[in-house]
């Protein structure tokens, strides 16, 4: 059965002053689906490739690429040149001839990033949904107009962002005269502690419970502070002796603090993507099932992208960020799970082993980061606890999982270290042991070419590969690391495990 690909795009028509829907297909004798004609002018199905993780296996970047959509217009049968295509949505659906439109599956969705044409071909470049995350996590800047917008000294700087329960963060001084500091540019869940030179100050509470309209209405008194959680602000009662720091709880969702890696990714992805329409929501709940450890992050001064933060969060639990087989944003934890199916030798046109990343014999994970490290010379040791002094003086803490015997069988085994955003030692310890188990063993990486199994495979899922040339010819469970869909129903898989 010949697969049918349908392309639906919504360019802007300047003449109609509105978006219009354009439908095309690669041809299927009678390309009417859902009561619409899908003009048969697409030269071939667009290629699509998604790579969930690379080297290093954990913490490596994911990549998605979508081939161009080539519409044959050389005969003048369609005129697409007057439409505004950039930034408009495009979807590719796949089905079989005779299917109802509802039976087609969306396999690519994204936005149009380029438009080229010559006498023969009108060509559209498309980016995937994950690339929507390539924008700064923090897109609000201080106006420098006084009050909560700060003065000229911070004008143009990004406002801070607080996720989870970051500890010992340095808030931004926005109102020097009134000693007002900002730790989040949006409503925060709580402030757990405020320190001056490491010494905890006393809380007066939040202005919402004090019948104060504004944080500056608080009658300041030394050694104390007040919060304005609705605006992510604190105010000190007296000038600090050193750099004030604090422990805070950041963004909440429905009254609950957003804390797990998958939930935090979903939360920040929601800044640019529609939730749930653009998300593989099952993958987020599955990732939470695999690992629901609390994570924390504080962003101030720097401007990381949403994608960078999302990848850091997922790397903290040994996971990845990618798109699924229907083009939706997905997350996953790298683990050899339950096999989703078997790929047999008779289906494989080409098989080759690729080199693999070196295994680990020791896996060291950093956790519980102090976001502002205080030198021992600036900490007031008169009343601080040793635990607090130690915490504030070290950037992060470490857990180590190791097995020196791995080096006996695997001479190339190495030590490896990764800073995570995990909060708790127990969670970091569990994860380091899991990662040593995953990465402290002989692994293989294969590339194989299949035919007529287009868009069946998902990155991050486990399949059993049966082939007489394998190290385990009876069947080896492997994680799909990369899926490349090419024209004419050809699929290239890269699997690891």
């Amino acid at each position: 059965m010949t697969a049918v690909y349908l392309i639906e795009a919504t360019p802007y028509d300047p003449d109609a002053s509105a978006e219009v829907t354009k439908r095309f297909s690669i041809g299927s004798l009678a390309p009417t689906y859902g009561g619409d004609l899908w003009t048969a002018r697409v030269e071939r199905s667009p290629s699509f490739s998604v790579e969930a993780f690379s080297d290093p296996i954990i913490g490596g970047r994911s990549r998605v690429s979508i081939g161009t959509v080539r519409i044959l217009h050389g005969d003048g049968g369609v005129n697409l040149r007057n439409l505004n295509w950039y930034g408009r949505s495009l979807e590719v659906k796949r089905g079989q001839r005779g299917d109802a439109l509802g039976d087609f599956t969306t396999v690519i969705r994204g936005r149009i990033t380029s438009m080229r044409w010559d006498r023969e071909v009108f060509e559209l470049g498309v980016s995937d949904l994950a690339s929507e995350l390539d924008v700064p996590l923090q897109d609000t800047l201080y106006a420098g107009s006084g009050g909560d917008e700060g003065g000229d000294d911070i004008k143009g700087r990004p406002k801070p962002r607080c996720l989870g329960k970051p500890r010992n963060i340095a808030p931004v001084l926005v109102d020097r005269a009134n000693l007002v500091y900002q730790f989040s540019d949006r409503a925060a869940k709580a402030v757990d502690a405020v320190y001056d030179q490491g010494l905890a100050l006393d809380s007066e509470g939040d202005i919402s419970t004090m019948s104060l309209a504004e944080i500056r209405d608080w009658p300041a008194c030394g050694g104390r502070y007040v919060t304005d959680l609705g605006n992510g602000l604190i105010r000190l009662g007296a000038p600090p002796a050193g750099t004030p720091t604090m422990d805070a709880q950041g963004d909440e969702d429905g009254g609950s603090l957003v804390q797990t890696a998958a939930d935090l990714v979903r939360h920040i992805a929601g800044q640019v993507l529609a939730d749930p329409a653009d998300l593989d929501t099952t993958s987020f709940s599955d990732a939470n099932t695999s690992n629901s450890s609390p994570c924390s992050l504080y962003v101030s001064g720097e401007r990381p992208t949403i994608r960078e933060v999302a990848e850091r969060l997922m790397a903290s639990i040994g996971g990845f960020v990618a798109v699924d087989a229907s083009g939706l944003l997905k997350v996953g934890v790298i683990e050899i799970g339950t096999s989703q199916g078997t790929v047999r030798e008779r289906e494989i046109f080409d098989l080759r082993r690729l080199d693999v990343a070196r295994p680990y014999w020791r896996r060291k994970l950093g956790y519980a980061r102090a976001w502002k490290v205080l030198g021992q010379d600036v900490i007031d040791k008169s009343a601080i606890t040793d635990a607090n002094a130690d915490f504030m003086g070290q950037r992060e803490r470490f857990v180590v999982a190791e097995d020196a015997s791995i080096k006996t069988a695997l001479a190339e085994a190495r030590e490896s270290e990764l800073s995570t955003l995990l909060d708790a030692e127990a969670d970091a310890s569990t994860e380091s042991s899991r990662q040593l188990s995953l990465l402290g063993a002989r692994r293989d990486r294969y590339e194989l070419q299949l035919q007529n199994r287009a868009h069946e495979f998902e990155v991050g899922e486990t399949y059993t590969l049966v082939h007489s040339s394998l190290r385990v010819p009876a069947g080896q469970d492997l994680i799909v690391r990369r899926v490349s869909e090419r024209s004419r129903e050809s699929t290239v898989l890269e699997v690891w495990g």
């Binding site: 009678a30 619409d36 004609l37 046109f349 035919q451």
Partner: protein, 264 residues
Amino acid sequence: MGWSDWGDAASLETIGNEPGSGAVAANLQTMQPTELWESTDLTNLHFELDRGSAEALNVVALLYTNASSGATWRIRAADDQASLTDGSADYDSGSITLRAAGADDTWERPHGVLWISAGITRRWLRIDITDGSNPDGVFRAGRLVIGDLWQPARNAQYPIAFGPVDDTQHKRTDGGSLIPIHRGDPYQVADLRFKFLNEAESLEHVHDFRRRRGRRYDMLVLLDPEDASYLQHRTLYGLITRDDALGHAGFQRFEHRVQINELT
């Protein structure tokens, strides 16, 4: 062989019951058969064409349809619109089977071809279609060709090469399975060599094809328009993909070779 010189120049009365967007009757006058016309009216389906003045035609071909085996059509022609339906039409085919001879249910898009060997010259034309038992619940057609085809005095040189071509390639797996790599559906081709054309044929027809249609525009070829068994097989609608220069082989003898690939 020829093209829809009558049909494409005529104004086509828009037909009701065209579902969805895009699949309109005007598509019948455009080249690509996948840009089709679709109607939910299966029992009172008709349209009329006005050529503007009386012009010659000898073929009415409704191509790439989904006509069922029971579908019928009726073609009437006249010099005024009223005569099409008041019983005084100058030409009336009567109700005849729509599918061309040889088009059984294995053909996904059978053609309807009415060959009027004597030819007629009329301004108005009406087509009525009845296909009440069409299993798709709609009637579709991809192209309407109404024209005055040229029939050479001497046939194309034997052997005539024609028939379906399938561009599928094959790959063998590591496990030994042979897998077809699909590349679209099979399509018809024809390779015709005319060795004995006279001057009038070569300059009035072949020269005309090359000048006015070339490799850009569609052509209809009926390899035997009166074939009562295999007209579907011998109907080829497509583009000229090889068009050798007109050869002046000798005194009053011209020759020409042309290859046609089906538009699918």
